[in-house]
């Protein structure tokens, strides 16, 4: 359906169609966020031998997050007197918008994919970088020392891990010869890149966890150390948008990992009768699960360890990965 | 969707360039001066890309050129900022007007 729309001549009607598709996707994402938070708390609870949310919405606390959101919606929204007001207001939007925007290029299944652009991967990387600006702006606009420090740390961490992240996917680009995510999925018809590019996967996974500011890389918002981080002055729904951005990114990043390394909707050989959407869902959920698992398992890193790890381990490894990949390609070409 | 004429890109680029030039020459804040220079370079990029798409004998070269421009612009910005930081640490100002100790 979407494919047909993409191929038809642009018109107002069809633009409206796009809009509706977008709204649908937004709903899906919001739904995901709602239950991802719940799932996270449940899984963490499970791993820590406790129950997690279990009051609101039945035994499994199914409405817990919904209630949280409603609470946030009803909370008073304070803007500090000393804050840079326009910047303070606009910062959560800057942080959130790119998070949703990147989803536009992710092909979820063969049929459910939105924008099909040649430089999809680059688009993702470029747009996702904007969030850092939102976080910086929020921290700066708060005019609060904790917020500023938190935002600076967060920005430093995000940019530091962005480089290994970006460099690790070059291996995949080398093998595919395209930046189009659909092409990348098609390339994994037989073997997923997880097996061809294990090093890249390792780097990518770690870097993406860091990019998402999740434990063990959650220094920017380490409640126990830093009060709260860059959003300490935010309250109510403005705060919610920072959180929303993070979980939307979780969605996006997990999807991207699935697409890049796990073959997207591609089925495992001989199991092609199962529809692509299911495959994608399975892979996607396992990635999310791994991320939660990591959160439950690893202790938080120290700030200096965090930076050193990014620059002194991951980046050289990423460079090495490019190097190895090209050499392998060269070897295959000559023999 | 009709394609935008080349001249529109060129005029935009020219405007950007002039804005950048104006900013670089008149602004007092050193950071803004650096940003203005970036603006000028981006005007060049716009020109190059527009020419590469719609220009005479359109070719990929313009895009390649713009890649180089981007990189070099980044390097230039990095060097400029590094120097600005050093300056700020010594003088505690980013006001261009106050950079007048070199005279006579």
């Amino acid at each position: 359906m979407i494919q047909n729309m993409l191929e038809s001549t642009p018109s107002y009607l069809q633009t409206g169609g796009f809009f509706l598709v977008g709204v649908a996707m937004l709903m899906v994402v919001l739904g995901f966020v709602t239950y991802a938070i719940l799932a996270e708390r449940k899984v963490l609870g499970f791993m820590q031998l406790r129950h997690g949310p279990n009051r609101v919405g039945g035994r499994f606390g199914l409405l817990q997050t919904v209630a949280d959101i409603l609470k946030l919606l009803l909370k008073e929204d304070t803007i500090p007197r000393d804050a840079d007001r326009p910047l303070f207001i606009i910062a959560p939007v800057i942080a959130f918008a790119p998070a949703f925007l990147v989803i536009a290029v992710l092909p979820l299944t063969e049929r459910i994919s939105f924008a099909n652009i040649g430089v999809g991967l680059l688009y993702y990387i470029a747009i996702s970088g904007i969030t850092t600006i939102g976080i910086l702006a929020g921290g700066w606009a708060s005019n609060n020392k904790y917020a500023l420090l938190g935002s600076m740390r967060s920005a430093a961490q995000m940019i530091s891990y962005e480089i290994p992240l970006v460099m690790s996917v070059i291996g995949i680009v080398l093998l595919t010869g395209s930046l189009n995510l659909n092409d990348i999925i098609a390339e994994q018809q037989s073997v997923a890149f997880l097996f061809k590019q294990p090093l890249a996967f390792f780097i990518f996974l770690i870097a993406s966890v860091a990019e998402l500011n999740r434990t063990p890389f959650d220094l920017p918002e380490a409640e126990s150390e830093l009060v709260a981080g860059y959003h300490v002055e935010y309250s109510g729904f403005r705060w919610a948008f920072f959180m929303l951005a993070e979980y939307v990114y979780l969605f996006a990043m997990a999807s991207l990992t699935t697409i890049l390394f796990l073959g997207g909707w591609q089925a495992i050989p001989y199991l092609t009768f199962i529809p692509g959407a299911v495959w994608f869902g399975l892979k996607f959920i396992s990635v999310v699960f791994v991320m939660i698992w990591i959160r439950a398992t690893f202790p938080r890193l120290r700030a200096d360890q965090l930076m050193s790890f990014g620059w002194k381990v991951l980046l050289p490894l990423a460079l090495l990965n490019i190097f190895l990949t090209t050499i392998v390609i060269e070897l295959f070409r000559s023999f | 969707m009709s394609s935008v004429p080349l001249s529109a890109y060129l005029v935009t680029a020219l405007l950007l360039f002039c804005m950048g030039l104006y900013g670089a020459l008149t602004k007092r804040n050193a950071v803004i001066v650096l940003i203005s220079i970036e603006l000028m370079l981006n005007a060049v990029n716009l020109n190059l890309v527009a020419f590469a798409k719609y220009g005479v004998g359109a070719s990929i070269r313009g895009q390649v050129f713009s890649l180089f421009t981007i990189t070099v612009a980044a390097a230039e910005a990095a060097v400029g900022l590094a120097i600005l930081i050093a300056l700020y640490r010594n003088r505690a100002t980013v006001n261009v007007d106050e950079m007048n100790t070199l005279k006579k």
Partner: protein, 125 residues
């Protein structure tokens, strides 16, 4: 041709739709919130939070130069990927020369990293 051009244009139309939505959602949510939530501002509430003590100084102070250094490093390395991506995309068609060239490039990048490393730029406070 027509179809691929359509795909091309529609794809960006999609992106624009997503952008509109991404901006609309906060706008709607915050506007809705305005009617729902209470608003009783007071001077106490609006002071900046500093763990309970009265805030002193502006916080727009000079922060540690480390952040800048990382920023600069990021700019350099991130922009170098500008060369790596097109190279990686076209690599299969380019041949051996591209291999040599990029190896040199990566080695140069690595030397740059090494330089920063040895100069203690990568050391966090």
């Amino acid at each position: 041709m027509g179809e691929s051009l359509n795909v091309y244009q529609n794809s960006y139309l999609f992106v624009i739709m997503f952008l509109i939505l991404a901006l609309l959602l906060p706008a709607i949510a915050l506007t809705a919130g305005r009617f729902l939530r209470p608003s009783k501002p007071s001077a106490e509430k609006q002071t900046t939070y500093e763990s309970g003590i009265e805030p002193f100084h502006q916080s727009w102070i000079q922060y540690n130069v480390r952040y800048y250094l990382f920023g600069l490093l990021f700019v350099i390395f991130d922009v170098e990927t500008v060369f790596l991506y097109p190279w990686a995309v076209a690599y299969q068609k380019l041949g051996f020369f591209a291999f040599i060239e990029m190896m040199l490039f990566i080695i140069m990048l690595f030397i740059g990293l090494l330089y920063a490393w040895k100069k203690k730029v990568l050391k966090w406070i």
